[in-house]
Symmetry: D2
Subunit: 134 residues, 4 copies
Protein backbone atom coordinates (compact mmCIF):
# COMPACT_ATOMS: atom_id res chain seq x y z
CA UNK A 1 0.00 0.00 0.00
CA UNK A 2 1.29 3.45 -0.94
CA UNK A 3 0.10 6.24 1.28
CA UNK A 4 0.54 10.00 1.36
CA UNK A 5 -0.92 12.71 3.59
CA UNK A 6 -1.74 15.84 1.65
CA UNK A 7 -2.59 18.92 3.67
CA UNK A 8 -4.67 21.82 2.42
CA UNK A 9 -6.63 24.64 3.96
CA UNK A 10 -10.16 25.81 3.36
CA UNK A 11 -10.63 29.38 2.15
CA UNK A 12 -13.61 31.50 1.15
CA UNK A 13 -13.25 30.31 -2.46
CA UNK A 14 -14.14 26.77 -1.32
CA UNK A 15 -17.13 27.42 0.92
CA UNK A 16 -20.75 27.78 -0.20
CA UNK A 17 -23.68 29.58 1.40
CA UNK A 18 -24.35 26.57 3.68
CA UNK A 19 -20.96 27.47 5.22
CA UNK A 20 -19.35 24.19 4.13
CA UNK A 21 -16.95 23.22 1.36
CA UNK A 22 -18.78 22.99 -1.98
CA UNK A 23 -19.03 19.35 -3.04
CA UNK A 24 -17.06 19.66 -6.28
CA UNK A 25 -14.08 21.26 -4.54
CA UNK A 26 -13.04 17.95 -2.98
CA UNK A 27 -12.11 16.74 -6.45
CA UNK A 28 -9.68 19.62 -6.71
CA UNK A 29 -8.16 18.61 -3.38
CA UNK A 30 -7.95 15.01 -4.66
CA UNK A 31 -6.09 16.16 -7.76
CA UNK A 32 -3.52 18.06 -5.72
CA UNK A 33 -3.25 15.11 -3.31
CA UNK A 34 -2.48 12.53 -6.01
CA UNK A 35 0.00 14.88 -7.70
CA UNK A 36 1.84 15.16 -4.37
CA UNK A 37 1.60 11.40 -3.69
CA UNK A 38 3.31 10.74 -7.02
CA UNK A 39 5.88 13.46 -6.37
CA UNK A 40 6.68 11.83 -2.99
CA UNK A 41 7.69 8.75 -5.04
CA UNK A 42 9.85 10.85 -7.37
CA UNK A 43 7.30 10.98 -10.16
CA UNK A 44 6.42 14.37 -11.60
CA UNK A 45 3.24 14.46 -13.64
CA UNK A 46 4.87 17.09 -15.85
CA UNK A 47 7.65 14.64 -16.72
CA UNK A 48 5.18 11.82 -17.45
CA UNK A 49 3.32 14.19 -19.78
CA UNK A 50 6.50 15.31 -21.50
CA UNK A 51 7.15 11.62 -22.22
CA UNK A 52 3.80 11.52 -24.03
CA UNK A 53 1.55 9.94 -21.42
CA UNK A 54 -1.72 11.24 -20.02
CA UNK A 55 -3.60 9.84 -17.01
CA UNK A 56 -7.15 11.10 -17.63
CA UNK A 57 -9.76 10.49 -14.94
CA UNK A 58 -12.32 7.94 -16.13
CA UNK A 59 -14.32 7.66 -12.90
CA UNK A 60 -14.65 9.93 -9.87
CA UNK A 61 -16.64 9.19 -6.73
CA UNK A 62 -17.15 10.92 -3.41
CA UNK A 63 -19.16 10.25 -0.23
CA UNK A 64 -19.80 13.24 2.01
CA UNK A 65 -20.33 12.67 5.74
CA UNK A 66 -19.46 15.91 7.53
CA UNK A 67 -18.93 19.37 6.03
CA UNK A 68 -15.58 21.13 6.34
CA UNK A 69 -15.56 24.82 7.25
CA UNK A 70 -13.63 27.98 6.41
CA UNK A 71 -10.08 28.01 7.85
CA UNK A 72 -10.15 24.26 8.57
CA UNK A 73 -6.89 22.50 7.81
CA UNK A 74 -7.70 19.27 6.01
CA UNK A 75 -5.63 16.12 5.72
CA UNK A 76 -6.29 14.05 2.62
CA UNK A 77 -5.00 10.53 3.20
CA UNK A 78 -4.23 9.36 -0.33
CA UNK A 79 -3.81 5.67 -1.03
CA UNK A 80 -2.82 3.35 -3.87
CA UNK A 81 -3.63 -0.24 -2.90
CA UNK A 82 -3.02 -2.18 -6.10
CA UNK A 83 -0.64 -2.16 -9.01
CA UNK A 84 -2.60 -0.88 -12.01
CA UNK A 85 -3.21 -3.10 -15.01
CA UNK A 86 -5.04 -0.93 -17.48
CA UNK A 87 -6.40 1.41 -14.80
CA UNK A 88 -4.99 3.09 -11.74
CA UNK A 89 -7.26 3.50 -8.71
CA UNK A 90 -6.50 6.09 -6.04
CA UNK A 91 -8.44 6.37 -2.77
CA UNK A 92 -8.86 9.47 -0.61
CA UNK A 93 -9.98 10.01 2.97
CA UNK A 94 -10.41 13.55 4.25
CA UNK A 95 -10.12 14.44 7.95
CA UNK A 96 -9.71 17.68 9.81
CA UNK A 97 -6.15 18.04 11.06
CA UNK A 98 -5.75 16.21 14.40
CA UNK A 99 -9.32 14.92 14.41
CA UNK A 100 -10.33 11.32 13.86
CA UNK A 101 -13.71 11.96 12.33
CA UNK A 102 -13.92 11.10 8.63
CA UNK A 103 -15.44 14.00 6.67
CA UNK A 104 -15.32 12.74 3.13
CA UNK A 105 -14.03 9.68 1.28
CA UNK A 106 -13.72 9.03 -2.41
CA UNK A 107 -11.71 7.58 -5.25
CA UNK A 108 -10.62 8.28 -8.78
CA UNK A 109 -9.85 5.82 -11.59
CA UNK A 110 -7.34 6.77 -14.26
CA UNK A 111 -6.62 5.40 -17.72
CA UNK A 112 -3.26 5.57 -19.46
CA UNK A 113 -3.38 7.18 -22.88
CA UNK A 114 -1.14 8.89 -25.39
CA UNK A 115 -1.68 12.52 -26.35
CA UNK A 116 -4.23 11.53 -28.99
CA UNK A 117 -6.32 9.80 -26.33
CA UNK A 118 -5.57 6.20 -27.33
CA UNK A 119 -5.18 3.66 -24.53
CA UNK A 120 -1.55 2.66 -23.97
CA UNK A 121 0.35 0.52 -21.47
CA UNK A 122 1.22 2.32 -18.24
CA UNK A 123 4.58 4.12 -18.38
CA UNK A 124 7.36 1.75 -17.28
CA UNK A 125 9.02 4.04 -14.76
CA UNK A 126 5.69 4.66 -13.04
CA UNK A 127 4.96 0.93 -12.87
CA UNK A 128 8.37 0.10 -11.44
CA UNK A 129 8.16 2.83 -8.85
CA UNK A 130 4.69 1.69 -7.79
CA UNK A 131 5.84 -1.95 -7.62
CA UNK A 132 8.78 -1.02 -5.40
CA UNK A 133 6.63 0.96 -3.00
CA UNK A 134 3.47 -1.17 -2.79
CA UNK B 1 -39.57 9.68 -14.82
CA UNK B 2 -38.84 13.39 -14.59
CA UNK B 3 -36.50 14.73 -17.21
CA UNK B 4 -34.92 18.08 -18.02
CA UNK B 5 -32.41 19.19 -20.62
CA UNK B 6 -29.98 21.73 -19.24
CA UNK B 7 -27.76 23.49 -21.75
CA UNK B 8 -24.43 25.07 -20.91
CA UNK B 9 -21.38 26.13 -22.85
CA UNK B 10 -17.73 25.39 -22.29
CA UNK B 11 -15.41 28.36 -21.74
CA UNK B 12 -11.72 28.76 -21.00
CA UNK B 13 -12.44 28.61 -17.26
CA UNK B 14 -13.58 24.98 -17.69
CA UNK B 15 -10.81 23.58 -19.82
CA UNK B 16 -7.45 22.21 -18.63
CA UNK B 17 -4.12 21.91 -20.39
CA UNK B 18 -5.21 18.63 -22.03
CA UNK B 19 -7.74 20.85 -23.88
CA UNK B 20 -10.74 19.13 -22.30
CA UNK B 21 -13.16 20.07 -19.52
CA UNK B 22 -11.55 19.54 -16.09
CA UNK B 23 -13.15 16.54 -14.39
CA UNK B 24 -14.52 18.43 -11.36
CA UNK B 25 -16.32 21.00 -13.52
CA UNK B 26 -19.00 18.48 -14.51
CA UNK B 27 -20.24 18.57 -10.92
CA UNK B 28 -20.82 22.31 -11.31
CA UNK B 29 -22.81 21.64 -14.48
CA UNK B 30 -24.78 18.98 -12.58
CA UNK B 31 -25.61 21.46 -9.84
CA UNK B 32 -26.93 24.01 -12.32
CA UNK B 33 -28.81 21.23 -14.16
CA UNK B 34 -30.67 19.97 -11.07
CA UNK B 35 -31.48 23.52 -9.98
CA UNK B 36 -33.08 24.10 -13.39
CA UNK B 37 -34.86 20.72 -13.36
CA UNK B 38 -36.49 21.65 -10.05
CA UNK B 39 -37.29 25.13 -11.32
CA UNK B 40 -39.00 23.58 -14.38
CA UNK B 41 -41.34 21.91 -11.87
CA UNK B 42 -42.00 25.21 -10.08
CA UNK B 43 -39.62 24.49 -7.20
CA UNK B 44 -37.04 27.14 -6.38
CA UNK B 45 -34.16 25.91 -4.22
CA UNK B 46 -34.07 29.38 -2.62
CA UNK B 47 -37.68 28.93 -1.47
CA UNK B 48 -36.98 25.42 -0.11
CA UNK B 49 -34.05 26.85 1.84
CA UNK B 50 -36.10 29.76 3.16
CA UNK B 51 -38.53 27.15 4.53
CA UNK B 52 -35.63 25.65 6.49
CA UNK B 53 -34.66 22.70 4.30
CA UNK B 54 -31.27 21.83 2.87
CA UNK B 55 -30.53 19.15 0.26
CA UNK B 56 -26.82 18.46 0.83
CA UNK B 57 -25.04 16.13 -1.57
CA UNK B 58 -24.10 12.89 0.20
CA UNK B 59 -22.71 11.03 -2.82
CA UNK B 60 -21.41 12.19 -6.20
CA UNK B 61 -20.24 9.99 -9.04
CA UNK B 62 -19.09 10.55 -12.58
CA UNK B 63 -17.87 8.37 -15.48
CA UNK B 64 -15.91 10.13 -18.21
CA UNK B 65 -15.96 8.71 -21.71
CA UNK B 66 -15.09 11.54 -24.09
CA UNK B 67 -13.71 14.98 -23.28
CA UNK B 68 -15.66 18.14 -24.08
CA UNK B 69 -13.82 21.07 -25.65
CA UNK B 70 -13.78 24.86 -25.52
CA UNK B 71 -16.88 26.46 -27.13
CA UNK B 72 -18.79 23.15 -27.14
CA UNK B 73 -22.45 23.51 -26.23
CA UNK B 74 -23.33 20.72 -23.83
CA UNK B 75 -26.72 19.21 -23.09
CA UNK B 76 -27.07 17.69 -19.62
CA UNK B 77 -30.02 15.30 -19.62
CA UNK B 78 -31.11 15.38 -15.99
CA UNK B 79 -33.33 12.63 -14.65
CA UNK B 80 -35.23 11.72 -11.47
CA UNK B 81 -36.43 8.11 -11.72
CA UNK B 82 -37.78 7.41 -8.26
CA UNK B 83 -39.68 9.19 -5.54
CA UNK B 84 -37.19 9.79 -2.73
CA UNK B 85 -37.66 8.18 0.68
CA UNK B 86 -34.84 9.50 2.78
CA UNK B 87 -32.62 10.25 -0.20
CA UNK B 88 -33.11 11.83 -3.60
CA UNK B 89 -31.11 10.44 -6.53
CA UNK B 90 -30.56 12.51 -9.66
CA UNK B 91 -28.91 11.14 -12.83
CA UNK B 92 -27.08 13.13 -15.49
CA UNK B 93 -26.03 12.34 -19.06
CA UNK B 94 -23.89 14.84 -20.94
CA UNK B 95 -23.85 15.07 -24.73
CA UNK B 96 -22.63 17.65 -27.19
CA UNK B 97 -25.55 19.56 -28.66
CA UNK B 98 -27.03 17.63 -31.61
CA UNK B 99 -24.64 14.70 -31.19
CA UNK B 100 -25.61 11.27 -29.96
CA UNK B 101 -22.31 10.32 -28.39
CA UNK B 102 -22.37 10.18 -24.59
CA UNK B 103 -19.49 12.18 -23.14
CA UNK B 104 -20.06 11.83 -19.42
CA UNK B 105 -22.64 10.27 -17.12
CA UNK B 106 -23.06 10.57 -13.38
CA UNK B 107 -25.38 10.91 -10.44
CA UNK B 108 -25.76 12.71 -7.15
CA UNK B 109 -27.54 11.56 -3.99
CA UNK B 110 -29.07 14.16 -1.68
CA UNK B 111 -30.20 14.00 1.92
CA UNK B 112 -32.90 16.20 3.45
CA UNK B 113 -31.79 18.12 6.51
CA UNK B 114 -32.69 21.15 8.54
CA UNK B 115 -30.29 24.09 8.85
CA UNK B 116 -28.49 22.42 11.75
CA UNK B 117 -27.75 19.40 9.54
CA UNK B 118 -30.18 16.95 11.17
CA UNK B 119 -31.98 14.53 8.85
CA UNK B 120 -35.63 15.47 8.31
CA UNK B 121 -38.48 14.22 6.16
CA UNK B 122 -38.47 15.59 2.60
CA UNK B 123 -40.40 18.86 2.24
CA UNK B 124 -44.07 18.12 1.48
CA UNK B 125 -44.42 20.43 -1.50
CA UNK B 126 -41.35 18.92 -3.15
CA UNK B 127 -42.66 15.38 -2.59
CA UNK B 128 -46.07 16.18 -4.03
CA UNK B 129 -44.61 17.88 -7.05
CA UNK B 130 -42.30 14.94 -7.72
CA UNK B 131 -45.17 12.46 -7.26
CA UNK B 132 -47.33 14.34 -9.78
CA UNK B 133 -44.58 14.45 -12.38
CA UNK B 134 -43.00 11.00 -12.03
CA UNK C 1 -19.33 51.16 -29.75
CA UNK C 2 -19.87 47.40 -29.82
CA UNK C 3 -22.22 46.07 -27.19
CA UNK C 4 -23.48 42.65 -26.15
CA UNK C 5 -25.72 41.48 -23.33
CA UNK C 6 -24.56 38.21 -21.86
CA UNK C 7 -26.93 36.47 -19.47
CA UNK C 8 -25.87 34.01 -16.81
CA UNK C 9 -27.38 32.62 -13.63
CA UNK C 10 -25.94 32.33 -10.16
CA UNK C 11 -25.67 28.84 -8.67
CA UNK C 12 -24.32 27.40 -5.43
CA UNK C 13 -20.89 27.01 -7.03
CA UNK C 14 -20.64 30.81 -7.29
CA UNK C 15 -21.79 31.91 -3.85
CA UNK C 16 -19.65 32.15 -0.72
CA UNK C 17 -20.58 31.96 2.95
CA UNK C 18 -21.56 35.66 2.94
CA UNK C 19 -24.34 34.52 0.59
CA UNK C 20 -23.03 36.57 -2.33
CA UNK C 21 -21.09 35.74 -5.49
CA UNK C 22 -17.40 35.19 -4.70
CA UNK C 23 -15.37 38.09 -6.07
CA UNK C 24 -13.22 36.05 -8.48
CA UNK C 25 -16.24 34.47 -10.16
CA UNK C 26 -17.11 37.69 -11.97
CA UNK C 27 -13.98 37.22 -14.05
CA UNK C 28 -15.36 33.89 -15.23
CA UNK C 29 -18.61 35.63 -16.20
CA UNK C 30 -16.54 38.27 -18.03
CA UNK C 31 -14.70 35.58 -19.98
CA UNK C 32 -17.94 33.96 -21.11
CA UNK C 33 -19.39 37.41 -21.90
CA UNK C 34 -16.52 38.47 -24.17
CA UNK C 35 -16.50 35.07 -25.92
CA UNK C 36 -20.20 35.58 -26.71
CA UNK C 37 -19.69 39.22 -27.74
CA UNK C 38 -17.10 38.09 -30.30
CA UNK C 39 -19.32 35.23 -31.43
CA UNK C 40 -22.17 37.71 -31.97
CA UNK C 41 -19.84 39.39 -34.51
CA UNK C 42 -19.07 36.07 -36.20
CA UNK C 43 -15.71 35.61 -34.50
CA UNK C 44 -15.05 32.31 -32.77
CA UNK C 45 -12.16 32.34 -30.33
CA UNK C 46 -11.45 28.73 -31.31
CA UNK C 47 -10.94 29.82 -34.94
CA UNK C 48 -8.67 32.71 -33.93
CA UNK C 49 -6.58 30.26 -31.91
CA UNK C 50 -6.44 27.75 -34.74
CA UNK C 51 -5.00 30.55 -36.88
CA UNK C 52 -2.19 30.89 -34.32
CA UNK C 53 -3.35 33.87 -32.30
CA UNK C 54 -3.84 34.16 -28.54
CA UNK C 55 -5.51 37.03 -26.67
CA UNK C 56 -4.09 36.65 -23.17
CA UNK C 57 -5.44 38.91 -20.44
CA UNK C 58 -2.80 41.42 -19.36
CA UNK C 59 -4.95 43.43 -16.94
CA UNK C 60 -8.17 42.66 -15.10
CA UNK C 61 -10.10 45.03 -12.88
CA UNK C 62 -13.38 44.89 -11.01
CA UNK C 63 -15.36 47.23 -8.72
CA UNK C 64 -17.98 45.60 -6.51
CA UNK C 65 -20.98 47.64 -5.42
CA UNK C 66 -23.77 45.20 -4.55
CA UNK C 67 -23.55 41.45 -4.09
CA UNK C 68 -25.47 39.08 -6.36
CA UNK C 69 -27.31 36.13 -4.80
CA UNK C 70 -28.08 32.49 -5.52
CA UNK C 71 -30.59 32.05 -8.38
CA UNK C 72 -30.20 35.66 -9.56
CA UNK C 73 -30.15 36.03 -13.33
CA UNK C 74 -27.37 38.44 -14.21
CA UNK C 75 -26.95 40.55 -17.32
CA UNK C 76 -23.38 41.40 -18.22
CA UNK C 77 -23.37 44.38 -20.55
CA UNK C 78 -20.15 43.89 -22.50
CA UNK C 79 -18.64 46.79 -24.43
CA UNK C 80 -15.79 47.50 -26.83
CA UNK C 81 -15.38 51.26 -27.22
CA UNK C 82 -12.19 51.61 -29.22
CA UNK C 83 -10.41 49.85 -32.02
CA UNK C 84 -7.39 48.13 -30.47
CA UNK C 85 -3.87 49.11 -31.46
CA UNK C 86 -1.63 46.76 -29.55
CA UNK C 87 -4.21 46.09 -26.85
CA UNK C 88 -7.91 45.36 -26.78
CA UNK C 89 -9.97 46.77 -23.88
CA UNK C 90 -13.34 45.27 -23.00
CA UNK C 91 -15.69 46.77 -20.39
CA UNK C 92 -18.34 44.94 -18.37
CA UNK C 93 -21.32 46.13 -16.33
CA UNK C 94 -23.29 43.59 -14.32
CA UNK C 95 -26.96 44.10 -13.40
CA UNK C 96 -29.66 41.81 -12.13
CA UNK C 97 -32.11 40.98 -14.90
CA UNK C 98 -34.74 43.75 -15.20
CA UNK C 99 -33.17 45.88 -12.47
CA UNK C 100 -31.33 49.13 -13.05
CA UNK C 101 -28.98 48.92 -10.11
CA UNK C 102 -25.35 48.36 -11.09
CA UNK C 103 -23.86 45.48 -9.09
CA UNK C 104 -20.37 45.22 -10.48
CA UNK C 105 -18.32 46.89 -13.20
CA UNK C 106 -14.93 46.00 -14.58
CA UNK C 107 -12.67 45.66 -17.56
CA UNK C 108 -10.06 43.42 -19.09
CA UNK C 109 -7.13 44.33 -21.34
CA UNK C 110 -5.85 41.80 -23.87
CA UNK C 111 -2.62 41.51 -25.80
CA UNK C 112 -2.23 39.79 -29.17
CA UNK C 113 0.43 37.11 -29.24
CA UNK C 114 1.43 34.04 -31.18
CA UNK C 115 1.49 30.62 -29.53
CA UNK C 116 5.01 31.20 -28.23
CA UNK C 117 3.80 34.31 -26.39
CA UNK C 118 5.44 36.91 -28.63
CA UNK C 119 3.48 40.10 -29.31
CA UNK C 120 2.02 40.21 -32.81
CA UNK C 121 -0.28 42.52 -34.76
CA UNK C 122 -3.98 41.90 -34.13
CA UNK C 123 -5.51 39.33 -36.50
CA UNK C 124 -6.78 41.08 -39.63
CA UNK C 125 -10.24 39.54 -39.69
CA UNK C 126 -10.83 40.56 -36.07
CA UNK C 127 -9.70 44.13 -36.78
CA UNK C 128 -11.93 44.46 -39.81
CA UNK C 129 -14.93 43.08 -38.01
CA UNK C 130 -14.39 45.43 -35.09
CA UNK C 131 -13.92 48.41 -37.45
CA UNK C 132 -17.19 47.62 -39.24
CA UNK C 133 -19.15 47.37 -36.01
CA UNK C 134 -17.66 50.18 -33.93
CA UNK D 1 4.90 47.87 6.07
CA UNK D 2 3.44 44.46 6.85
CA UNK D 3 4.64 41.65 4.64
CA UNK D 4 3.89 37.95 4.31
CA UNK D 5 5.06 35.30 1.85
CA UNK D 6 2.29 32.90 0.96
CA UNK D 7 3.29 29.78 -0.97
CA UNK D 8 0.98 27.80 -3.18
CA UNK D 9 1.37 25.28 -5.96
CA UNK D 10 -0.19 25.15 -9.39
CA UNK D 11 -2.29 22.09 -10.24
CA UNK D 12 -4.33 21.00 -13.24
CA UNK D 13 -7.40 22.73 -11.79
CA UNK D 14 -5.63 26.10 -12.21
CA UNK D 15 -4.27 25.79 -15.72
CA UNK D 16 -6.12 26.52 -18.97
CA UNK D 17 -5.61 25.22 -22.49
CA UNK D 18 -2.86 27.81 -23.10
CA UNK D 19 -0.95 25.84 -20.44
CA UNK D 20 -0.87 28.78 -18.01
CA UNK D 21 -2.78 29.65 -14.86
CA UNK D 22 -6.28 30.96 -15.72
CA UNK D 23 -6.43 34.69 -15.00
CA UNK D 24 -9.20 34.53 -12.38
CA UNK D 25 -7.36 31.94 -10.30
CA UNK D 26 -4.85 34.53 -9.06
CA UNK D 27 -7.67 36.13 -7.08
CA UNK D 28 -8.14 32.83 -5.25
CA UNK D 29 -4.42 32.79 -4.45
CA UNK D 30 -4.73 36.40 -3.24
CA UNK D 31 -7.58 35.46 -0.91
CA UNK D 32 -5.60 32.63 0.64
CA UNK D 33 -2.55 34.91 0.87
CA UNK D 34 -4.33 37.69 2.76
CA UNK D 35 -6.01 35.19 5.09
CA UNK D 36 -2.56 33.83 5.97
CA UNK D 37 -1.05 37.32 6.29
CA UNK D 38 -3.72 38.19 8.87
CA UNK D 39 -3.24 34.85 10.61
CA UNK D 40 0.51 35.54 10.85
CA UNK D 41 -0.49 38.61 12.91
CA UNK D 42 -2.76 36.55 15.14
CA UNK D 43 -5.97 37.61 13.40
CA UNK D 44 -8.33 34.86 12.26
CA UNK D 45 -10.92 35.95 9.71
CA UNK D 46 -13.33 33.47 11.30
CA UNK D 47 -13.01 35.30 14.64
CA UNK D 48 -13.51 38.71 13.01
CA UNK D 49 -16.67 37.37 11.37
CA UNK D 50 -17.94 35.86 14.60
CA UNK D 51 -17.61 39.34 16.10
CA UNK D 52 -19.97 40.61 13.40
CA UNK D 53 -17.52 42.14 10.92
CA UNK D 54 -17.15 41.44 7.21
CA UNK D 55 -14.34 42.64 4.94
CA UNK D 56 -15.92 42.44 1.48
CA UNK D 57 -13.75 43.12 -1.54
CA UNK D 58 -14.77 46.40 -3.20
CA UNK D 59 -12.02 46.52 -5.83
CA UNK D 60 -9.76 43.88 -7.33
CA UNK D 61 -7.01 44.44 -9.86
CA UNK D 62 -4.37 42.31 -11.50
CA UNK D 63 -1.59 42.82 -14.07
CA UNK D 64 -0.30 39.70 -15.80
CA UNK D 65 3.26 39.67 -17.10
CA UNK D 66 4.32 36.02 -17.35
CA UNK D 67 2.18 32.91 -17.13
CA UNK D 68 2.71 30.34 -14.37
CA UNK D 69 2.68 26.64 -15.28
CA UNK D 70 1.51 23.33 -13.86
CA UNK D 71 3.57 22.16 -10.85
CA UNK D 72 5.14 25.61 -10.37
CA UNK D 73 5.49 26.63 -6.75
CA UNK D 74 4.40 30.25 -6.45
CA UNK D 75 5.31 32.79 -3.80
CA UNK D 76 2.73 35.52 -3.27
CA UNK D 77 4.40 38.44 -1.52
CA UNK D 78 1.49 40.05 0.32
CA UNK D 79 1.80 43.60 1.60
CA UNK D 80 -0.15 46.11 3.69
CA UNK D 81 1.48 49.54 3.38
CA UNK D 82 -0.96 51.84 5.12
CA UNK D 83 -3.25 51.79 8.10
CA UNK D 84 -6.79 51.63 6.74
CA UNK D 85 -9.24 54.46 7.34
CA UNK D 86 -12.47 53.30 5.78
CA UNK D 87 -10.76 50.91 3.37
CA UNK D 88 -7.98 48.39 3.63
CA UNK D 89 -5.65 47.97 0.64
CA UNK D 90 -3.58 44.82 0.21
CA UNK D 91 -0.94 44.38 -2.51
CA UNK D 92 0.28 41.13 -4.03
CA UNK D 93 3.33 40.19 -6.08
CA UNK D 94 3.60 36.69 -7.49
CA UNK D 95 6.93 35.05 -8.30
CA UNK D 96 8.02 31.51 -8.99
CA UNK D 97 9.82 30.07 -5.99
CA UNK D 98 13.52 31.08 -6.07
CA UNK D 99 13.14 33.16 -9.22
CA UNK D 100 13.29 36.93 -9.36
CA UNK D 101 11.02 37.46 -12.32
CA UNK D 102 7.66 39.04 -11.44
CA UNK D 103 4.79 37.03 -12.95
CA UNK D 104 1.75 38.86 -11.72
CA UNK D 105 0.99 41.81 -9.45
CA UNK D 106 -2.30 43.06 -8.11
CA UNK D 107 -4.24 44.51 -5.22
CA UNK D 108 -7.55 44.26 -3.46
CA UNK D 109 -9.46 46.96 -1.55
CA UNK D 110 -11.72 45.94 1.32
CA UNK D 111 -14.54 47.74 3.11
CA UNK D 112 -15.57 47.11 6.70
CA UNK D 113 -19.24 46.24 7.11
CA UNK D 114 -21.59 44.56 9.52
CA UNK D 115 -23.48 41.42 8.55
CA UNK D 116 -26.26 43.49 6.96
CA UNK D 117 -23.70 45.14 4.66
CA UNK D 118 -23.66 48.57 6.31
CA UNK D 119 -20.29 50.35 6.49
CA UNK D 120 -18.80 50.32 10.00
CA UNK D 121 -15.55 51.40 11.60
CA UNK D 122 -12.73 48.85 11.27
CA UNK D 123 -12.64 46.35 14.16
CA UNK D 124 -10.48 47.72 16.99
CA UNK D 125 -8.32 44.65 17.49
CA UNK D 126 -7.49 44.53 13.79
CA UNK D 127 -6.57 48.24 13.78
CA UNK D 128 -4.33 47.93 16.82
CA UNK D 129 -2.58 44.87 15.43
CA UNK D 130 -1.98 46.60 12.11
CA UNK D 131 -0.71 49.76 13.87
CA UNK D 132 1.77 47.74 15.94
CA UNK D 133 3.13 45.92 12.93
CA UNK D 134 3.21 48.66 10.28
Amino acid sequence: MIQFEYRTKVYYKDVDQMGIVYYARYYEYFEAARTELLKSLGIHVTVIENEGYLLPVITSHCDYKVGANFEDTLVVNTIIKDLPKSRLRIDYEVHRNNFDELLVSGYTMHAFTDKSGRAVKPPKQLMETLKQNL
